[in-house]
């Protein structure tokens, strides 16, 4: 149902890696390491500043894929992959956007399932890639039926 939209991209959105948000996020995953939160520690580190946890991009706004109407309920998160050129720095601006990378269907024990592969990108202000995030979500037959109502 999304075949025709493969390759479509969202607008780019400017995000800011903010110290307080990073601290809150690090705490929520039980990882209040000083490399994330202690400025003095960050200054003395290899990076000369604080970095953000690898799954922190979860909080970014990656824009909206206007035509791809995913169900708000019932999506199953199947896989997640992050690829980094370098860690994210606290205090930097990151420009983020989303692409519908793939859509395919498979028939399994629970009927026809749709696999949506969403790829998200984070770039620095000069347009250099910092990271990508790839998420595979599964739309089950029950949810597909509900979407058509």
């Amino acid at each position: 149902m999304f075949h025709d939209l493969i390759g479509s991209k969202s607008n780019k959105v400017k995000n800011f890696v903010e110290h307080g948000r990073v601290k809150q996020f690090a705490e929520s995953i039980g990882d209040l390491h000083p490399i994330y939160v202690d400025e003095e520690y960050g200054r003395k580190s290899k990076y000369g500043r604080n970095i953000a946890p690898p799954t922190y991009p979860r909080v970014f706004d990656f824009g909206v894929l206007e035509q791809v109407k995913l169900p708000s309920k019932g999506l199953i998160h199947g896989e997640q992959r992050y690829i980094f050129k370098r860690p994210l720095f606290v205090g930097e601006e990151v420009y983020c956007y989303t692409e519908l990378q793939n859509y395919y269907e498979k028939t399994g024990g629970n009927g026809l399932m749709g696999f949506v592969v969403i790829k998200r990108y984070g770039e620095d202000p000069e347009g250099n890639l910092i990271f990508t995030e790839e998420m595979t979500a599964i739309i089950t037959e029950a949810v597909r039926k509900a979407m058509k109502v």
Binding site: S28, S45, K46, V59, Q80, I83, R86
Partner: protein, 133 residues
């Protein structure tokens, strides 16, 4: 205690066992990640979705697992972190985080990683490429 600088292929980083998953853990993660899908926090919504109870955000578990590598930020960084979500995590579950070194190259340590529940069942499983600086 096994640290990244000492381990050999086939050996593990020191495991971490988390306290039993609490509703407050999931409320905090919802607030920090802005993922307010109510199946993670509200019993009624979880049961409407056909679940026996609220389940943890998959990304909460994935976020937790990454902390096995945080202490080694002076050695390198997580260049590639891929996970398959294979089981649900419920309130009260006790999750243990594991990483086994599967390969070491000139530029990276490659780990097989997983988080298991108290029944030793995998809830997430995947791979980390930890690039050396």
């Amino acid at each position: 205690m096994n640290s990244l600088t000492q381990i050999k292929v086939g050996e593990s980083l020191s495991e971490v066992t988390l306290p039993p998953v609490s509703r407050l853990d999931l409320i905090k993660y919802a607030g920090a990640s802005l993922d307010f899908n109510p199946i993670h926090t509200i019993d009624e919504e979880a049961s409407k979705a056909g679940l026996p109870g609220v389940i943890a955000h998959g990304m909460w578990t994935m976020g937790n697992l990454a902390k096995l590598f945080t202490p080694y930020h002076e050695i390198g960084f997580m260049k590639d972190y891929q996970i398959r979500f294979s089981g649900m995590v419920f309130l009260g579950d006790v999750i243990t985080l594991k990483a086994v070194l599967s390969e070491e190259t000139e530029n990276a340590f490659i780990f097989s990683v997983r988080a298991v529940n108290q029944k030793e069942k995998d809830v997430i499983k995947g791979k980390v490429v930890f690039a050396k600086h």
